[in-house]
């Protein structure tokens, strides 16, 4: 019982210390170094030890776990390791080894420690043709047979990228597959690591095969020790055979991505037709947008620039472009034909993708850099949400936008003040989007403009705040607001409306007046009233700004 508790305690501590690393649940080993052979945790009577940052094991461990015969010739301090295909000769203290009659330099020689002969595990394992990996987080050495890996017809460099087995799961090297995730050889973000259950070995990140299959419906075939991802060998051969005349056929009939043009804050993906709507998603660290164009192939011009080693082409991005870092493209899949375009940004960006006469236009709306005292202006409602209906059938969303735009104009004339709008047209950002925007741009103030609605008789102006830090801001706003409207004063009220509850900076929500009241509605629709209102509100904000800066 007590031991169990201790063990549990140790496990909990390990879990706390290594939130991303999975702890082997099989058996807790007393040794700090774990040995996993063919996916199974191996208990050795003599634990593996670290010497000069290399894992050493007694020669007997090699014999029992790697299916090799080991001979120890005491006189010469010589070790002979033989399996069905390989023969290794090593001498204690000598960095020169003989592998299949070839001299090979080891970085660490075999040693004798406490009367036992220890050999460097990685060297022996790799010499015997196995894959050897080291997971620092869990202090685990992984050894399993070699798998050849072929991605879209290209054999992956076996020295660089290796397949591992942990328990029953095969793990593939992440980087060669990375084009599927569109992240461009960047260190995966914490989010990616968690979502894709990535693990980090000294040889790089690895991803469980099942997770990869789950995310990408790419054909995966297993054959003995070979893993084939994407197009199979046969298909590849036929493609290569017909390569010369294939292009001509493509050009005449099928849809092609002809070019990618950057025009200010717009990127045009020029396609021969607009039959298939692209799929798209964005990712972070770095911020990027991934667009998959279905049923399309790369034009010759784009295809020529594809680097065959990585299967990707890159576009030259002008240096004065501070928003777009890089644009990459690849023939992501052949059956069905899909082209993937990845646009990497220097910062967070909102985008829309719309068809135009040339192809698909990606409109970018980058978040501004903070350059002053920043106020997020939020025109209530919008788009699909008209808000309340006014006495003459007018919409609240139009009124809130008109006032916000005027207020922006006023504030932009004031020195040191910067404005960001949650919407500048008839769109509906969700309440969460509005809050998120304010957080993303690190706003100093958040102001939401609304108009009220109830019975024809109901009247008045009110100002809402929620957090204590917003109280002063709300009071100043209300003072000027009442001056501007001259409607009955309903006061400053504390209320947990979404946008003022969830923003972390001082925030307020204004209900200018009642659209359902004929008189108030008429005045609110008057451009002169709106202009005066905007001026008064800008004065209120400026007063708050000067008090607090």
């Amino acid at each position: 019982m007590k031991r169990f508790c201790l063990w549990l305690g140790a496990l909990m501590t390990a879990l706390l210390l290594l939130p991303l690393a999975q702890v082997y649940a099989d058996q807790p080993s007393p040794s700090p170094i774990q040995l996993v052979v063919e996916g199974k945790s191996i208990q050795t009577d003599v634990a593996p030890t670290l010497v000069e940052n290399r894992t050493f094991v007694p020669i007997r461990v090699v014999a029992t776990n790697l299916n090799a015969t080991v001979q120890w010739i005491e006189k010469e301090k010589k070790i002979e390791i033989t399996d069905s295909a390989n023969h290794i000769t090593m001498v204690v203290g000598d960095k020169m080894a003989l592998v299949n009659s070839q001299e090979v330099q080891m970085d660490v020689p075999p040693i004798v420690k406490e009367g036992r002969t220890l050999v460097p595990l990685r060297f022996v394992g790799e010499s015997l043709g196995t894959n050897v990996g080291w997971e620092p987080n869990t202090k685990t050495v992984l050894i399993n047979k070699f798998y050849s890996l072929m991605i879209d017809g290209n054999t992956v460099d076996r020295e660089k990228y290796k397949v591992f087995k942990i328990q029953e799961e095969l793990y593939l090297p992440y980087y060669p597959l990375e084009s599927y995730f569109g992240s461009g050889k960047q260190e995966p973000s914490g989010e990616t690591i968690t979502n894709l259950k990535l693990r980090k070995l000294d040889t790089g990140w690895i991803i469980p095969l099942s997770i990869f299959k789950e995310h990408y419906r790419v054909p995966v075939e297993m054959e003995d020790q070979g893993i084939y991802i994407g197009t199979t060998e046969d298909e590849e051969e036929t493609e290569n055979d017909g390569n010369s005349d294939e292009n001509t056929i493509e050009e005449s009939s099928s849809n092609q991505l002809r070019g990618i043009d950057i025009e200010d804050e717009e990127i045009i993906l020029e396609t021969s037709n607009l039959d298939d709507t692209p799929k798209h998603f964005s990712m972070t660290s770095p911020n990027r947008l991934v667009i998959d164009l279905p049923n399309i192939s790369l034009s010759n011009r784009l295809d020529e620039k594809v680097d065959p080693a990585v299967g990707m082409g890159k576009l030259d991005v002008a240096l004065d472009q501070d928003l777009i870092n890089e644009i990459r493209y690849s023939q992501f899949s052949r059956d069905p034909e899909t082209v993937r375009v990845v646009i990497e940004f220097s910062r967070k960006v909102n985008y829309t993708i719309q068809p135009n006469k040339k192809g698909w236009a990606v409109n970018l709306n980058a978040l501004p850099k903070k350059e002053g005292f920043l106020i997020v202006l939020d025109a209530g409602h919008g788009g699909s949400d008209p808000g309340a209906a006014g006495a003459i059938g007018n919409h609240e969303k139009d009124f809130t936008l008109a006032v916000t735009r005027l207020l922006k104009e006023q504030l932009e004339q004031m020195k040191g003040i910067q404005i960001v709008e949650t919407r500048s047209g008839d769109t509906y950002p969700t309440l969460q989007d509005r809050v998120q925007l304010a957080e993303d741009v690190a706003a100093d103030l958040f102001l939401s403009i609304h108009a009220n609605s109830f019975k024809p008789e109901t009247r008045g102006t009110e100002t809402y705040y929620y957090t204590e830090q917003s109280k002063d801001f709300a009071s100043i706003l209300h003072k000027y607001l009442i001056e501007a409207t001259n409607f009955p004063d309903r006061g400053v009220k504390k209320q947990n409306f979404y946008v003022i509850k969830n923003t972390t900076m001082p925030s307020s929500l204004l209900e200018i007046g009642f659209l359902t009241n004929k008189e108030e509605n008429q005045r609110m629709l008057d451009p002169g009233f709106q202009q005066n209102l905007a001026e008064k509100l800008s004065q209120a904000i400026y007063e708050y700004y000067t008090i607090n800066n």
């Binding site: 007590k2 209530g380 309440l431 609304h450 309903r490």
Partner: protein, 197 residues
């Protein structure tokens, strides 16, 4: 060595279970003070209504009734106004559905915050979570102040029933961020949250 602790723990647990079960048995009938029971009927109406009748030839219509409080707005949208109402439920109707209907029809010179058409259905889980499934085909023409009153009037009405522990608003059976664009209704409301509304 660890056995005594175990024993103490188990005894404590038993004691707690006993205490709690004792509590609930004693207090259950009293804890719905607003509810006037028909003397013939038992005090647990919802379950009784749903129980299949043993004699199908002589269907007994079990009707429950209660005096409840419902809430409306004054004309200036300044205060919620309380009204007492009698509701009855039984065959095909539930207490919560009837309470909602009562919320739609004020007797005095007050303004209702709800319309019958806004409710699709209303259901309670065994844990006491009331799901209020709304339809916004006919959008109530309220601003933030009105939306708050809407939510508040419904919550106050439903929370007077002891068994309702939380209220989740849904629109067309889906959880939503907000009903009219101001109030955060993404999470269920609990009785404890009422002080902050």
């Amino acid at each position: 060595m660890v056995k005594p602790f175990y024993f103490i723990k188990i005894s404590l647990l038993c004691l707690l279970i006993l205490l709690f079960s004792g509590c609930s048995e004693e207090s259950l009938p009293d804890k719905t003070p607003n509810q006037e029971s028909d003397p013939v009927e038992t005090t647990q109406p919802v379950e009784n209504v749903k129980q299949p009748e043993p004699k199908p030839n002589t269907p007994v219509v079990k009707v429950e009734k209660a005096d409840i409080k419902v809430y409306f707005s004054d004309l200036q949208l300044e205060n919620l106004v309380e009204e007492e109402k009698k509701i009855t439920w039984g065959e095909g109707t539930t207490k919560y559905g009837q309470a909602f209907l009562a919320l739609c029809e004020p007797e005095k010179e007050t303004t209702p915050l709800w319309k019958e058409q806004n409710l699709k259905d209303i259901q309670i889980s065994p844990e006491g979570k009331l799901s209020v499934n709304l339809s916004l085909e006919e959008r109530p023409n309220f601003g933030s102040t009105g939306e708050r009153f809407m939510v508040l009037s419904l919550l106050q009405t439903m929370f007077q029933f002891e068994e309702v522990t939380s209220v989740q608003f849904l629109i067309d059976n889906q959880p939503v961020e907000t009903i009219l664009g101001h109030m955060d209704v993404s999470e269920p409301f609990t009785k404890e949250m009422m002080a902050d509304l």
